[in-house]
């Protein structure tokens, strides 16, 4: 016994040292290899996309400020019109924000139901949990533009296709996040409610929702912020709102860049505003209420 202990360290230390060095070397080799592959992927990817692009990267690089300069010049030349433009396009901005708000609301309700149906321990039909999970996966995987384009073809241009498209995607995305929140919910209130004969809806509404509401709200706010961007970009493919106005101003080209500038300003201001607002409230929700 004593022998092994006294003899151990001398050989053991050497062993450990050797092992450690070997391990470090192997690690270095692996991370070096991974870095090389990554660098090769980045460079070749860049070269491929550069070759496929209409204009090259190096040619375009010194033109990068041409267009902003053009817009700024024209806006500066017609600066007197700018306030009028801002007022003129404000309703379109409101429409974009409304699309985002409604789709977050509808998607949130959809996600809420789906998440409750797909959380172990809460589900109404435990056998169907995998089904609801797959449904959410597919809803999340469908890019908004796919649904929006199809619906624009059937329903005509306007805010409704964008709203449905974003709500569909939001339902899947929020459903997944919500069900992660649900997993951590305390089951005791549920047992209490079940013991007095509450139905499934009552148990969920009174036992689960109050526990998870702050986290839900925080995720929904983050999603709202994302959805404003999505609804602006969908407008550009014909789904109404400020994106549509921007597309019109852009396709007109020079002469309407003052309008484009006004739209840029509005969109930028709206995104920054809601970004700040949502991060402020999310902080309050996650770190507890600010002292009143």
């Amino acid at each position: 016994m004593a022998d092994t202990i006294t003899a151990g360290p001398a050989t053991g230390a050497g062993d450990i040292r050797g092992h450690y060095m070997a391990l470090t070397q192997r690690r270095r080799l692996y991370s070096g290899l991974a870095l090389t592959i990554f660098a090769a992927l980045m460079t070749s990817g860049f070269m491929v996309s550069n070759a496929r692009n209409a204009g090259g990267f190096w040619d375009g690089l010194h033109n990068i400020f041409d267009f902003p300069a053009l817009v700024v010049d024209e806006a500066a030349a017609k600066v007197a019109l700018l306030p009028a433009h801002l007022v003129h396009f404000f309703p379109a901005l409101i429409e974009t924000i409304n699309i985002a708000a409604v789709s977050t609301l509808v998607g949130g309700i959809l996600g809420l139901v789906l998440s409750l149906l797909s959380t172990r321990g809460l589900a109404r039909f435990p056998r169907l949990i995998p089904l609801f999970r797959r449904v959410m996966d597919i809803m999340r995987a469908v890019p908004e533009i796919v649904i929006a384009l199809v619906l624009i073809f059937v329903l005509g241009g306007g805010p409704v296709p964008a709203m449905i498209a974003i709500a569909f995607h939001t339902g899947g995305a929020l459903g997944k996040l919500f069900s992660e929140v649900n997993e951590n919910a305390d089951m005791n209130p549920l047992d209490g409610l079940a013991s007095v004969g509450a139905t499934w809806i009552q148990r969920m509404w009174l036992g689960v929702i109050p526990q998870v509401a702050p986290n839900y709200l925080s995720y929904a706010l983050l999603r709202f912020e994302i959805n404003i961007r999505a609804s602006a970009i969908l407008g550009f493919v014909g789904a109404g709102g400020i994106g549509y106005e921007l597309k019109n101003a852009m396709s007109w080209g020079q002469g309407k860049f003052d309008e484009a500038a006004a739209i840029f300003i509005l969109l930028f201001a709206a995104i920054v505003f809601f970004d700040q607002l949502s991060s402020h409230y999310r902080n309050r929700l996650t770190r507890g209420r600010a002292p009143a």
Binding site: R52, N53, F57, V154
Partner: protein
């Protein structure tokens, strides 16, 4: 005294009840009011009238079926059989499909289920089972003359210059200039081989195991070549477009992470004591994020032209802002003890960062980057539709033609598979890289 205390408690409880009642009834009421306002603002009540349900029906029908046109030009008497009426899908005149038989001036078209249409010398005869024989004689002088008289069922529409019949077997349309029969089939037409390929009409087992179909080349190689260069579905181009979209997302996300990491050190309170510099970089991040991918795409497309590089750069610009913000927050939360430990060994500044900081933030960084990679695959589809690159462009192009809906459904399926694939890969990477191998 205790009585007064309970009174106060009771009052407080009651106030709280009132507040709760207000919230639990007021909030849903508020939501309903908002939704009502939206219904009016978005014009939802009139939506059903404005909707083009026929468009929707065509879209759905096209996504799982296709039609073959049998057309006779009534002036020249020329006959052509074409899938979807496209040139690329036209049968050779001497080799029509087996349900079309030509004997002299007569053409018999068997629509299946007992429905037979015959193109006679200069007219059309349609034998509808359970109804009777419909005859039509188009001529330049007298329009379209038929044997129909009086009331006709609603699946027949007849006027002086046009006769249209729609049955469960197909559709017939006769005008002065041309007589057309449409027969519907399930599936996506010519998905594997076009009509000019020798492999058209052969099953997979025949190609794999059967005798050589095209004497000039092996079955497998030849079949693959014809499939890959299919002029109607352009599989090679579509796959390339998918690759381009993933490339945009990859370059944009990784590039943004690489740009944002060093900048995040400058924007973190515990690494940059200079307040002005720190706040300046933060404003840059806010600006990059606030401008949004849409505006970046438009601005950059002006400089670099349409293509995947523009899309990649638009993603890079936006996400540099997002990553910068997240990374600098992660950096502000690192544990100083590890850095001090590394410092105590006499390591230089770079070594301190490399061994004291990076290992701490790597899991957060990687999971964020991978999450963004996945979500940017979706964004790259949209950006591609705007800037002109990748699968997004193909999708919008197919949409604009308003007839190749089977291609639209093909692209949609591919896009969903692509996003799920990226989701899956990023999930695997996240688990492996964060929890360690």
């Amino acid at each position: 005294m205790s009585l007064a205390a309970t009174d106060i408690q009771k009052a407080a409880a009651e106030r709280s009840f009132v507040r709760r009642r207000l919230v639990s009834f007021g909030l849903p009421a508020l939501v309903l009011v908002y939704l009502a306002y939206i219904a009016v603002a978005f014009g939802i009540p009139g939506l059903a009238e404005r909707a083009r349900w026929d468009n929707g029906r065509a879209l759905v029908a096209d996504s799982y079926s296709y039609k073959t046109h049998v057309t006779r030009d009534n002036r020249s008497g020329e006959l052509s059989v074409a899938i979807e009426g496209e040139r690329k899908g036209t049968y050779a005149p001497d080799a029509p499909p087996d349900w079309v038989t030509r004997t002299g001036a007569e053409t018999v078209i068997d629509l299946g289920g007992g429905h037979v249409v015959t193109y006679t010398e200069n007219g059309m005869v349609y034998d509808v089972p359970g109804y009777g024989v419909i005859e039509a004689m188009p001529s330049r002088a007298r329009g379209v003359e038929t044997n129909l008289a009086g009331d006709v069922p609603d699946w027949i529409s007849v006027s002086k210059n046009r006769l249209a019949i729609t049955t469960e077997a197909g559709r017939v349309s006769v005008t002065r200039n041309r007589t057309e029969v449409f027969r519907y089939f399930r599936g996506w037409e010519l998905f594997f081989f076009t009509l000019d390929s020798p492999y058209h009409g052969h099953s997979l087992t025949e190609i794999l195991l059967g005798p050589r179909i095209d004497p000039a080349r092996g079955n497998l190689a030849g079949a693959w070549h014809d499939f890959w260069t299919n002029a109607m579905w352009r599989h090679a181009e579509v796959l390339w477009a998918i690759f381009e979209t993933i490339l945009m997302a990859f370059l944009g996300t990784m590039g943004a992470a690489m740009v944002a990491l060093p900048l995040a050190f400058v924007a973190a309170k515990n690494f940059t004591p200079v307040r002005g510099l720190r706040l300046g970089i933060r404003r840059v991040f806010d600006f990059l994020r606030g401008v949004d991918a849409l505006i970046w795409t438009i601005v950059l497309a002006r400089a670099f032209g349409p293509g995947p590089l523009t899309g990649a750069l638009a993603i890079l610009f936006t996400d540099t802002g997002s990553f910068g913000k997240m990374f600098s927050e992660a950096l502000e939360n690192v544990d100083d003890k590890q850095i001090e430990g590394v410092q105590s060994t006499g390591a230089p500044v770079l070594g301190r960062y490399r061994f004291g900081v990076i290992p701490q933030i790597t899991p957060v960084l990687l999971s964020q980057v991978l999450y963004y990679l996945e979500s940017n695959t979706r964004s790259a589809t949209i950006i591609g539709a705007i800037t002109g690159g990748g699968i997004g462009l193909l999708l919008t192009q197919a949409m604009i033609t308003q007839k190749d809906w089977e291609e639209v459904s093909y692209y949609i399926v591919l896009i969903i598979l692509m996003v799920m694939l990226m989701d899956w890969i990023s999930g695997i990477l996240r688990r492996r890289l964060i929890k360690g191998v």
